[in-house]
């Protein structure tokens, strides 16, 4: 047997892992209409729980809200000392540890359903995506808080040693039996799910609920209970996969989350419907990846483009082209709507006040506030790009950070390497990023909603692998640090270390902050104008109902392309500003999964308005909101965890985001004031 066939056989282990995650994603989607980005993180939490039970007899407790913490903070006393682990009386035997961990997984499923996703039944896909991202962030952070981030725990395999240490000789290729065992178990789980959905009462009811929840309820089917059961099944499945494969993959807070991308590709291939297509598709992806990886090594002519990592994108795009259109809809899903996209009212006094306040902070503020304000403004610009593409047009993009990376790399190529001066170099870089945006927009012509989120995430992976790590001008990885000179125009410099009459000897000098403020104001005005323009109205029409918009003569494809292009340009501006701020470029600044957090923060701020973008900017890493918050409460290592939980809570109780909440409160106040005036007025 040739080496390629051997690689195919050896893919059974990775294939089994992707397949097990893919069928879990399909199960959750079929049962509740949620594409669960947290599936891998849940698997990881349960696997860690298993290691704790088996090694120490402990159950990890995620950080819990402390109701008396403000009192403790004020009086500097400790009233509650929450446990981080609950001891269950010494190490548990393997079987019991598995059972214990899976019981916790089942309870987790119930909690996720009743605590989170039941409340989101009638919300749009974006809200569910954000909630699942919040859960993912919370679980990842909780794992780091409880177990640390860098040392994998000792995990005892549940596959018998006999299988682990013996190998099969398949036509001359040596393959360990445990890889086949993994594959067999996964395929058995697939068959079980298929059987359950096809022939059992549970499956029939779940399918009925998926087709039309209201009719199913009229027929006496308890759709809610079905969904709860499915969530339990989904988390137990995820947990079992985690326990099963962790000895093969090792256990870190993030690795199962990384496996989600190929698993999502397979699930999308299966249109989130067929367990078999998802499982076999996942195995196919793993095989394809290994064969491509081997071809890069084996064949001189084969391009070294990290094609193995790009394969999931190719499969996803291929699936879109071949199978086309949208995911099968659930009646309930269609009901939701995105947050309102308000027309910004031009109030010069108020705007002037805020601009002056920002400028004052940048010029005279203490160090933390100055840097926090600059980070906030750059973050707000990045979120403005999401306001356009997601808030106005309803297209979920998880590739915005990749556009910032393209722009930064472009700035290095045009500015640092080619010596093109400011502002031509950053504008060229932004133009290139805009082209990338237009390319990423192409799949959006056929897909929408959560499936578009997956496509754009895969596109971000492709940009990372092909552009940032590939050979070419825009390569970031492995290139010794390229620094950026401070931008200057007509002899006036306005970079982070440029001189300035006030506080000019402190980094970052006010010059850069003021420059960013000017750019932010210009872009905010641009986005505001866009919202009020005919193009903006067409965008909202597309967001509301594509078919109706098309019927009314709106060029839906053109609007989507325009939105992605404009959004990519705005993201690129943020990218170049960030590059100037950092003074250099590193690939670690453009991690693919950070896109999820950016979308989530944008949603938390309010994804459909300029004010929401400003709110979101305050929440970014080292943003002004974080700085102010830490004046009062030092979140320290809990920051990411609190952010994750806050996202979930926002999705549930306040889907309009902070901006929506703020508007609602102001409106309530206004109504109260009017009533009061009316009551006081003489009859």
């Amino acid at each position: 047997m040739g080496p390629y066939a051997q690689q195919v056989l050896l893919s059974s282990g990775a294939g089994a892992i992707f397949a097990a995650l893919a069928i879990g994603l399909v199960l959750t989607y079929r049962a509740s209409g949620v594409i669960n980005f947290a599936h891998g993180a849940i698997a990881t939490w349960v696997a860690y729980t298993y290691t704790s039970l088996q090694n120490d007899g402990d159950i990890p407790i995620p950080p819990l809200p402390n109701p008396v913490a403000p009192i403790e903070g004020i009086f500097d006393v400790e009233i509650f000392d929450f446990p981080t682990f609950v001891s269950m009386g010494g190490p548990w035997p393997e079987g019991w540890a598995v059972l214990g961990a899976l019981t916790i997984a089942a309870l987790l499923g119930l909690l996720l359903h009743f605590g989170v996703f039941r409340a989101l039944r009638y919300q749009p896909p974006l809200t569910k995506v954000v909630a699942s991202v919040g859960i993912m962030l919370a679980f990842q952070s909780a794992i780091v808080l409880r177990y640390g981030g860098t040392r994998p725990p000792r995990i005892e395999p549940i596959i018998p040693d006999g299988l682990r240490t013996s190998t099969a000789n398949v036509f001359g290729s040596i393959v360990p039996w445990d890889r086949f065992a993994l594959l067999a178990i996964t395929l058995a789980m697939t068959a079980g799910l298929w059987f359950l959905f096809r022939y059992s009462r549970y499956g029939l009811h779940t399918r009925a609920s998926a087709e039309n929840e209201q009719y199913a309820t009229l027929l006496g089917i308890a759709a809610d209970r079905q969904a709860a059961l499915s969530w339990m099944l989904g988390t137990v499945l995820a947990g079992f996969v985690g326990i099963l494969v962790a000895p093969t993959t090792s256990l870190t807070p993030t690795n199962f989350t990384l496996f989600i991308v190929p698993a999502l590709g397979a699930a999308l291939l299966a249109r989130f419907t067929s367990f078999w297509v998802a499982a076999l598709g996942a195995v196919g992806i793993a095989m394809g990846q290994n064969v491509l990886l081997f071809a890069e090594i084996d064949q001189d002519w084969f391009p070294s483009l990290n094609l193995d990592a790009v394969l999931p994108l190719a499969i996803i795009v291929g699936a879109m082209v071949v199978r086309g259109e949208v995911l099968p809809g659930r009646g309930a899903i269609e009901a939701g709507r995105l947050p309102q996209a308000f027309v910004a009212r031009w109030r010069p006094t108020l705007a002037g006040f805020w601009v002056a306040a920002a400028a004052a902070v940048v010029v005279w503020g203490p160090f933390d506030y100055r840097i926090g304000m600059t980070n906030t403004m750059i973050g707000a610009i990045l979120v403005l790009s999401l306001v356009v593409v997601t808030g106005y047009v309803g297209q979920i993009s998880l590739a915005q950070l990749a556009f910032t990376g393209v722009a930064a790399a472009g700035l290095a190529a045009f500015g640092t390497d080619a010596g093109i001066p400011f502002p031509i170099a950053p504008l060229l870089a932004a133009a290139v990023a805009t082209l990338f945006g237009l390319v990423v927009a192409l799949p959006a012509l056929r897909v929408r909603g959560a499936s578009l989120a997956i496509v754009t995430l895969a596109a971000a992976v492709a940009i990372d692998q092909l552009v940032f790590r590939g050979d070419g001008w825009f390569r970031i990885e492995g290139v010794p640090n390229r620094s950026f000179d401070d931008p200057s125009l007509f002899g006036v410099e306005f970079g982070p270390s440029s001189s300035f009459p006030i506080n000019g000897d402190e980094l970052p000098t006010p010059a850069f902050g003021l420059f960013v403020l000017v750019v932010l104001v210009l872009l905010a005005i641009m986005v505001s104008r866009l919202r009020q323009s005919r193009l903006g109205e067409q965008m909202l029409a597309v967001r509301a109902n594509e078919r109706a918009a098309a019927a009314a003569g709106v060029n839906v494809a053109g609007i989507k392309l325009a939105a992605f292009g404009i959004a990519a340009f705005i993201a690129a501006v943020a990218g170049t500003l960030n590059a100037y701020k950092l003074g250099t470029i590193q690939i670690t600044n453009y991690t693919v999964l950070t896109n999820l957090a950016i979308l989530a923060f944008a949603y938390l701020g309010g994804i459909s308005s300029i004010t929401g973008a400003l709110y979101a900017g305050t929440l970014f890493s080292a943003g002004i909101g974080v700085v102010v918050g830490e004046e009062f409460i030092d979140l320290g290592r809990y920051e990411a965890y609190v952010a994750g939980v806050a996202l979930v809570l926002t999705a549930i109780v306040n889907p309009e985001g902070i901006d929506g909440f703020d508007r609602a409160q102001r409106e309530r106040l206004r109504r109260w004031w009017r009533r009061r005036r009316a009551a006081m007025a003489p009859a």
Partner: protein, 466 residues
């Protein structure tokens, strides 16, 4: 779940406040870094003015600032005591001004090294308990960076702005480019002491002085030792990262120049689901050895499993110290593998330095030091000796220029073994130590296979071409 619209915001606000507030009180005390708090407080140390002033009186010549190699017992150990008080001399003098020890470490985020931050705190407390630096109590200001560039830059700018901070210590800072840009000669030119040189650009930074040999020197020593023990054909598995990319060409170049031959190189993406296909693709079955350059602990067990599955459990594997640790020792993961390190850290129990490290950690109630703590402690000792020399030269608080001068003044013999000399050779200015040695795990005990050998750093210049 929520039945009225009024309940929702109220409940969410209450929950949010509670949750945010939880960080103040819930389990902060159980954070590993908190629970293993240093045994000696800074206040106590600052109060120890007698020993501080006495130490000052005897630590005038930098050359006299001895290394911890001379340590006999933990109590009288270390350079602080070597610069130690003459018992006959009367002491009470004005307490010396504290030295501000600005430090940056990745403490937050999914990729975080809180144990390194903790080791900085423990070691600073140890200094203070033993008289500080040249009699000056050390005031640690540990700035927490996350796994994002923004927070690392913010820390760098904070210290750049703070005139009372004359130098900055780097624990583990992966997003370091912006830090170098701000603190290095292109910025405020404050000396940067420490950091682990994961990446090629880390090794080229003027103004940075690190005792970590860096990936290139470690790889060189591994390959040199491989040839020495007769391994002349080698498969290479690297991670798909800057380091991996940079190291791939180097391994091939260096190994062939040493008379060996690399057969196949495989890049493995972060979070690879299964290592077996990569190991097979690397053709490990047809080679005499495997050089594993995947710099994460999560790669250790899958590599061991993969090799054993292929019946190659005895194949010599050459790697860095990411598989050094109690869990891997107990599980036998690294048994027989050739681990290359830039210090003697894992060889606990075989020399006084190790005893000292153990003792200080035991006293702090902080468990056994492992992983990156060990090279960080070497960096800490280097920082101590440099600052001690600079303070002696200054006759008070040293300036940035004096720290620069002290760092480059002479070689330093350091805790846990290496002798370092700054700046590093040629372009590799921040690589003050190119010495590395090979150790192995033999029947559950770490044993040395080679002494420290210095890598010829200028040999790697070819990597920088183009």
């Amino acid at each position: 779940m929520f039945r009225t619209s009024r309940q929702l915001p109220i409940l969410s606000a209450v929950l949010a406040v509670c949750l945010i507030a939880a960080a103040c009180g819930d389990d902060a005390g159980e954070d590993p870094a908190d629970s293993q708090a240093p045994a000696v407080s800074e206040e106590a140390a600052a109060a120890d003015t007698d020993s501080a002033s006495e130490a000052d009186s005897t630590a005038e010549a930098p050359d006299d600032a001895d290394t911890m190699d001379d340590t006999e017992t933990p109590d009288d150990a270390g350079t602080a005591d070597d610069a130690a008080p003459d018992a006959a001399e009367p002491a009470p003098e004005e307490p010396k001004a504290p030295i501000k020890f600005g430090a940056i470490n990745m403490q937050d985020g999914v990729i975080a090294f809180p144990e390194v931050g903790e080791s900085i705190e423990i070691w600073v407390d140890y200094w203070n308990a033993n008289g500080g630096i040249n009699g000056h109590p050390v005031e640690l200001e540990l700035c927490t960076a996350g796994d994002d560039a923004e927070s690392a830059l913010a820390c760098a700018q904070r210290f750049a702005n703070d005139d009372s901070v004359e130098f900055v210590y780097l624990g583990v800072v992966i997003n370091s480019a912006a830090v170098y840009e701000t603190l290095g000669p292109a910025g405020v030119n404050k000396p940067m002491l420490g950091n682990l040189l994961f990446d090629v650009p880390d090794q080229l930074q003027p103004g940075l002085y690190s005792t970590d040999p860096g990936t290139l020197a470690l790889a060189y020593e591994a390959l040199r030792y491989a040839v020495e023990e007769g391994t002349t054909s080698m498969a290479v598995v690297v991670d798909d990262s800057d380091v991996g990319e940079a190291t791939l060409g180097l391994v091939d170049f260096v190994f062939s120049s040493l008379g060996g031959e690399t057969t196949t190189a495989v890049k493995v993406a972060t979070g690879q689901a299964d290592f077996l296909p990569a190991l097979t693709a690397a053709g490990v079955a047809d080679t005499q050895g495997l050089i594993l350059l995947i710099g994460e602990s999560a790669a250790c067990q899958p590599t061991r499993d993969g090799l054993e599955a292929l019946g190659l459990g005895d194949l010599p594997v050459y790697l860095g110290e990411w598989c050094v640790g109690e869990e891997f020792r107990e599980a036998g993961t690294s048994e027989g593998w050739r681990t290359v390190i830039g210090h003697n850290g894992p060889l606990f129990g075989s020399d006084p330095d190790s005893d000292l490290v153990h003792q200080v950690y035991d006293d702090a109630g902080a468990g056994k030091p492992f992983g990156l703590i060990l090279p960080n402690l070497v960096n800490m000792d280097f920082a101590f000796q440099v600052l001690e020399a600079a303070a002696a030269e200054a006759g008070g608080l040293p300036t940035a220029e004096q720290v620069h001068a002290a760092a480059t003044a002479r070689p330093y013999e350091l805790l846990l073994g290496p002798t370092v000399s700054c700046p590093g050779p040629g372009l590799w200015v921040s690589t003050c130590n190119s010495g590395a040695r090979v150790i192995t795990l033999e029947d559950g005990q770490w044993v040395g296979l080679s002494p420290f050998n210095a890598a010829p750093m200028t040999f790697f210049d070819v990597l920088l071409e183009g």
